[in-house]
């Protein structure tokens, strides 16, 4: 993978909880293809899943007929995930999850998002909420090529 290469892939699903599993499967496949370590994949899967659940709950107020778009942009140094919805102006930036020492249902999603990502940004563009999540990649952790497994490279065959 050339250091300037950007892998751009995206998925758009209806804002119904049943489709969240598609986003998780998409993330797993994509990040495996670009040799992301398993623990980073799990973190990003959780973080994006929680952010999308929140879109359904808060931006769309459980209207399951809308849509959610999740885009990926990966360079050698970071993975950027952008989540877009056309719901009510609704940023989770100002919100905090619950104090973790308090035992009650709910209030954990934001913690999972913050665990997965180093930088969280929000923009309202026209009628679209755009949540931008950035995960930095430690160079050393990106090269655990397993023996036996077929090597998959973005520039293969070029």
């Amino acid at each position: 993978m050339n250091s300037k290469t950007k892998h751009i892939a995206s998925i758009t699903i209806p804002s119904h909880p049943m489709y969240l599993s598609m986003i998780r499967a998409f993330i797993e496949k994509l990040l495996l293809l670009i040799d992301t370590p398993p623990s980073v994949i799990e973190d990003i899967k959780s973080g994006v899943d929680e952010a999308c659940s929140n879109v359904i709950k808060y931006a769309y107020n459980h209207d399951y007929t809308k849509s959610i778009k999740v885009s990926f942009n990966c360079s050698r140094s970071e993975i950027t995930v952008t989540i877009e919805d056309e719901g009510a102006f609704s940023s989770c930036l100002d919100f905090k999850g619950r104090d973790l020492s308090e035992v009650r249902p709910g209030g954990l999603g934001i913690h999972f998002i913050k665990k997965a990502f180093d930088k969280i940004d929000f923009k309202r563009v026209d009628d679209t909420n755009r949540l931008i999540l950035i995960r930095k990649i430690k160079k050393t952790t990106m090269k655990p090529k397993k023996k036996g497994r077929q090597k998959i490279r973005s520039n293969k065959g070029k």
């Binding site: 119904h16 909880p17 049943m18 969240l20 599993s21 998780r24 799990e42 899967k45 959780s46 899943d49 929680e50 659940s53 359904i56 709950k57 973790l100 020492s101 035992v103 009650r104 249902p105 709910g106 954990l108 999603g109 913690h111 999972f112 665990k115």
Partner: protein, 110 residues
């Protein structure tokens, strides 16, 4: 997600497989609410086949635990994968729940 329940000498065993997320956790909640309403104890939840768990799954277990506290019931989780175990630790709930390594361990005194 698939849920299977089994009678045990005392209480109930619940086996879950697949992914617990915003879509599937309501079905898990239904099962747990029915049992806690009947003050069943212990409830043993085998998570061996759970491949993914989100915050709504955690919320569901916390809610069940709170219900069970009212009748001093025992909620026991077992067979947590490394990832699921990490999630409970991250949420600072690993000390709040009774967590067992194997189903055999969880079934002791049932």
């Amino acid at each position: 997600m698939k849920i299977t329940t089994e009678d045990i000498p005392k209480g109930k065993l619940i086996m879950i497989s697949g992914e617990i997320d915003m879509h599937t956790s309501p079905a898990l909640r239904d099962v747990l609410m029915k049992l806690t309403k009947k003050k069943v104890t212990p409830i043993i939840v085998d998570l061996l086949e759970v491949s993914y768990m989100d915050s709504s799954a955690i919320a569901t277990f916390v809610e069940a635990l709170k219900n069970m506290m009212s009748y001093k019931g025992s909620l026991r989780l077992c067979n947590l994968s490394q990832r699921v175990s990490e999630i409970f630790t991250f949420a600072k709930l690993n000390k709040i729940f009774e967590i067992y390594k194997t189903r055999e361990d969880a079934l002791k005194n049932c």
